[in-house]
């Protein structure tokens, strides 16, 4: 059994326990920081191993698949775990300055670590019911983080977030039950083989759509996204940032996994639904963003819009399309978390996230303005940043299939993204502050300034590096897409036999 697959789950779990025990002393936050550092290391080791061997798997308690729970990492899982560790680490550093003592004492760091447990578990598991369990772990931690502190807005947003996510969970569980009923297995690799023997394909497609709805809610796909803009702007910024970066992407990951490995029987039906939903998701998200007047709300709607591109890549179901989806996932997590971090600093020095009530950031905090422009342009798809390549690959994949309308809409949405980024720029950065405040970074104490700006600068540097040297990343995404479309290595590693 390979321990490498277990570390990304066990490390944050132990960190959660330790930081909860020390939540009342300052030690708690340093334990949390050290824990995410260790997670970063473990995910790096996992990645190195996956790069060497292609796919690695571990059977828990030595119960062979399909009877036990299998943990498995292919290229996609490995890169998602790495990016989770990076985002987690950045969030913990950022929260050192942003999260007040009161929330730390309520167990902020413990909840954050439990969230990381759930996310890593969801990326690594090879068993459908186990995926459900990790989803729940992630969900309960996110519930806690969302309402931690209990302000009135948080509770209001929390109710909507909690109820809609619970419905999605129930849908997911129903799908699992029915799928087990017709195939008799829950191991994903085994399901890949078992669904080919199912005679009642109509029932299988029905179940596929149930999974689509369940994961669609998690991924904030149209028309199931309403919980996201209702809640993501209410918690502390560190929480918003990690939610925006990771949570919806777990939904997208689950969609990609389920609709390449399990439900690839009736592509003409399921993937056409996904295709049009993804296009509408892109368009509604960006239009919603254009109508908003709050920094974090605009960013929240952009999450939805960008989710559309990723699902589009999956729906095209070509090597290039899936490659684009994988590349987009990684790029988006970095950029979106970063934009939320910037919004948090803007709130701290200018006093609000309402665009009409802030200003003067360009004149008095040029560094922040510069660091905002990088992820903002990357989000919109300007060369030479990572977003350019992500959009380029997805749009190219659509053009290769002669889908002119889809490709055109993809480009138009990019243009509208720039529109709402200019809106933020034009209200928060360019004009003077309406109250005559001079929002300077130097007003923040040095230690806090470091903790706030370091994650922003690092993530901005990452999007630049991916943009300027895309070659290795594109090759990686290509291999990941190849593994998704032809899972023979995955099946062989998990089941131990030639399929």
């Amino acid at each position: 059994m390979s321990w490498l697959l277990v570390y990304p789950i066990i490390i944050p779990m132990m960190t959660a326990v330790a930081s909860y025990l020390f939540r009342r002393s300052p030690a708690g936050r340093w334990i949390s920081l050290a824990g995410t550092g260790a997670l970063l290391l473990a995910s790096g080791l996992l990645m190195a191993n996956v790069l060497q061997q292609g796919v690695i798997a571990a059977q828990m308690s030595n119960w062979d698949a399909p009877f036990g729970i299998t943990l498995v990492a292919d290229y996609l899982s490995a890169v998602m775990v790495v990016i989770t560790a990076i985002t987690g680490f950045a969030t913990v550093v950022y929260s050192l300055a942003e999260i007040p003592r009161r929330l730390e004492q309520l167990g902020f760091h413990a909840l954050l670590q439990v969230l990381l447990v759930g996310v890593c578990g969801a990326f690594l598991t090879g068993d459908l019911f186990n995926l459900y369990v990790w989803f729940e772990v992630m969900l309960i931690a996110s519930f806690g983080l969302l309402v931690l502190g209990g302000s009135r807005e948080q509770l209001d947003g929390g109710i909507k977030y909690v109820t809609l996510n619970l419905i999605s969970t129930i849908m997911f569980l129903t799908g699992i039950g029915l799928l087990y009923g017709i195939t008799g297995t829950l191991n994903m690799a085994d399901l890949h083989l078992a669904v080919r023997e199912v005679e009642n394909t109509g029932l299988l497609t029905t179940i596929a759509v149930m999974f689509m709805v369940a994961f669609g809610v998690k991924a904030a796909m149209f028309p199931l996204f309403f919980w996201l803009p209702a809640s993501y702007h209410t918690p502390p910024v560190a929480v918003s940032a990690i939610f925006a970066g990771l949570l919806t992407k777990v939904g997208v990951y689950a969609l990609i996994r389920a609709f390449t490995l399990i439900f690839d029987q009736d592509i003409g039906f399921t993937h056409t639904i996904l295709l049009w939903l993804s296009v509408i998701t892109m368009v509604t998200g960006v239009l919603g963003a254009a109508a908003m007047n709050d920094f974090r709300r605009i960013l929240s709607f952009h999450i939805i819009s960008q989710i559309g591109y990723m699902i589009l890549g999956l729906a095209l179901y070509t090597p290039l399309g899936l490659m684009g989806a994988v590349f987009y996932l990684v790029h988006h997590i970095i950029v979106k978390a970063n934009l939320f971090f910037v919004a948090g600093v803007a709130k701290r020095i200018a006093g609000s996230t309402e665009l009409s009530r802030i200003g003067g950031l360009y004149a008095h905090a040029p560094l922040l303005a510069f660091l905002f422009l990088i992820p903002a342009f990357s989000l919109a798809g300007f060369p030479p940043l990572s977003g350019f390549w992500a959009k380029f690959i997805v749009v190219k994949a659509a053009l290769d299939l002669d889908m002119w309308v889809v490709a055109g809409l993809g480009l138009a949405v990019g243009l509208l993204t720039i529109f709402s980024m200019t809106k933020i720029w034009g209200a928060a950065f360019w004009p003077d502050h309406p109250d005559g405040i001079k929002p300077r970074l130097s007003d923040i104490p040095v230690g806090h300034r470091l903790a706030l700006m370091l994650p922003i600068a690092t993530l901005a540097a990452m999007t630049c590096v991916i943009g300027i040297f895309p070659e290795p990343f594109v090759q990686f995404a290509e291999t990941a897409a190849g593994q998704l479309l032809n899972p023979s290595a995955y099946l062989e590693t998990v089941l131990g036999v030639q399929p």
Partner: protein, 120 residues
Amino acid sequence: MELLLAITIGIVVATSVYLMLDRNVLRFLFGLVLLSNAVNLVIFAAGRLTAGAPPLIADGAYAPDGQIANALPQALVLTAIVIGFGLLAFTLALVYRTYKSLGTVNSDEMRLAEPEDTHK
């Protein structure tokens, strides 16, 4: 027996949907509880209903004797019940806290986190 279970599940789901369409968040929550239990029954039924013995292996034997019940759906249901209970407890506390804080359980009146309505 399957038919009876299917009808029962149908009735429970219908009731829960009716409850979940209510503006009162507490009623919505009750609907959610019913729904999650209906799903547990779905899983149970999906594992086939048999009149088998408990899945126990006698001392010294390697396989159970005769027809036995499928233990896996029961394990799944058990896990789902535990998780569902935890989530329910959390949600109930959240609704109570929201009621104390906002003074309402009507979802139409929960507009604090929404943008100002400009079309009044």
